[in-house]
Amino acid sequence: MDIKTKALTKSLWVFHFASAPCNNCDIEILDALTPRFDLERFGILLVGSIRHADVMLVTGAVSPKGAVRLKRLYEQASKPCLVVAVGACACSMTMFRDSYNVAGPVDKIVPVHAYIPGCPPKPEAMIMGVVKLIKALKKG
């Protein structure tokens, strides 16, 4: 593992993109960032600008309007930028599968590096997802 990857795994800055979710996943993401779980121990910070981000968290079944923005945001991010789909809707769309106003799960629009299922996933599940993501990064 080279020094670049090591530094990346130790300091993941998170950008939060909500594409038409029901806000349950977003609330759980905010829960995970509270002092109770203290993700700053692992160098994880919430940033407001996609240019600073290393991880893009996407929640919700992506709507046609949201899909354009999601793609553009991914292009604006400085690479390497990882995408994590949080929640059942972002992973597989579940009950919105045959709806007329969804553009597809996240991995049809941008490449996804980790899936965290659940409706909504617990903060512990999110931390576990991030740990798995870091392990995958370390393997290369």
């Binding site: 121990r41 407001g48 240019r51 290393d54």
Partner: protein, 309 residues
């Protein structure tokens, strides 16, 4: 020539200041975490952040001015490095610097803010322009009381305008903090320092909950890393400047070194506690605060200094 380069690049210039800046920013984050009842980041966290940012892609926005956008963080970094070199050389041997270095230091300390303004405007993003214009208002607001506060010791020392003379005056007599005018000027200078470092309650330019990251919004990769490093170095250099101006600096002999470091740590603790116990002000409130109470207080300090109190 080689000696000068050593001063600028290794000690007490770039490398030393950068390393201490990394350490200090870790202390800041760690204490903040403890205040919020959590564990906080590991010791090497700022270094990881810095190395990671160096390894990321640098994007220049299409609407931006490329050269200005990329050069402004470099100028800010250079200015902080020169200030740190000057301050430490003065403390090690007070005779070494030139007449009027105090004025040069005040000018150089304004340059990082100006670089943030220029970089923000050069990035061609509306939120960055908004942040840069707020930063500009902040500079206009806090510079007046800051300079008044800095010149109170100069008046007390019968117009000595060299940092070395000011230090020797304090070593011969008592520190400037040990008088009413010095105390008032010190309080004003601490609050202006908080604004200079753009920390809560004066982090109005980058207010991440309203204008995301302000002037830094379009920065990524190496320029962002340089901006972060400049901020961390400022967190070391500006309190050090106040230690020299009001508290007699660091005397390099035996136990006095530890005592000098304690003076700096005291200022750092004040900064961190202020940052953790205050909400963010609005820009108009900040300007009213600096041009009203702070300037009046600073003028009172100057008058008291002329009266010899």
């Amino acid at each position: 020539m080689a000696k000068t380069l050593f001063y600028f690049i290794v000690f007490p210039g770039f490398l030393f200041t950068a390393l201490v800046g990394l350490l200090v920013s870790w202390i800041d984050r760690k204490v903040t975490a403890r205040v919020q009842w959590r564990v906080g980041p590991p010791l090497l966290q700022p270094l990881y952040d810095f190395v990671k940012l160096l390894g990321k892609e640098t994007i220049v926005p299409q609407a931006g001015a490329k050269l200005t956008f990329l050069l402004s963080p470099l100028f800010g970094l250079a200015a902080v490095t020169i200030v740190s070199t000057l301050l430490w050389l003065v403390m090690i041997s007070p005779k070494v610097t030139f007449l009027g270095d105090l004025i040069v230091v005040i000018y150089l300390l304004a340059i990082p803010s100006i670089c943030v303004i220029i970089g923000g405007f050069a990035s061609g993003n509306p939120l960055a322009s908004l942040g840069a214009s707020r930063e500009m208002k902040m500079v206009l607001a806090y510079e007046l009381p800051f300079i008044l506060a800095i010149f109170t010791p100069v008046i007390q020392a019968q117009g000595a305008i060299r940092l070395g003379d000011l230090l020797q005056y304090q070593w011969a007599n008592s520190i400037f903090l040990n008088s009413w005018s010095g105390l008032i000027a010190f309080v004003v200078a601490i609050i202006c320092m908080q604004a200079k470092l753009a920390l809560v309650p004066f982090d109005i330019p980058e207010a991440e909950t309203e204008i995301i990251a302000g002037p830094y919004i379009e920065y990524s990769g190496v320029p962002l890393a340089l901006y972060k490093l400049t901020r961390w170095m400022m967190l070391f250099v500006v309190p050090m400047f106040l230690v020299i101006m009001f508290m007699g600096g660091i005397v390099f002999s035996g136990w006095h070194i530890l005592w000098g470091i304690l003076k700096y740590v005291l200022l750092l603790v004040i900064i961190i506690l202020m940052r953790n116990t205050n909400p963010r002000l609005r820009i108009d409130q900040a300007i009213k605060f600096f041009w009203g109470p702070m300037t009046i207080l600073a003028v009172v300090g100057v008058i008291l200094a002329f009266l010899g109190l």
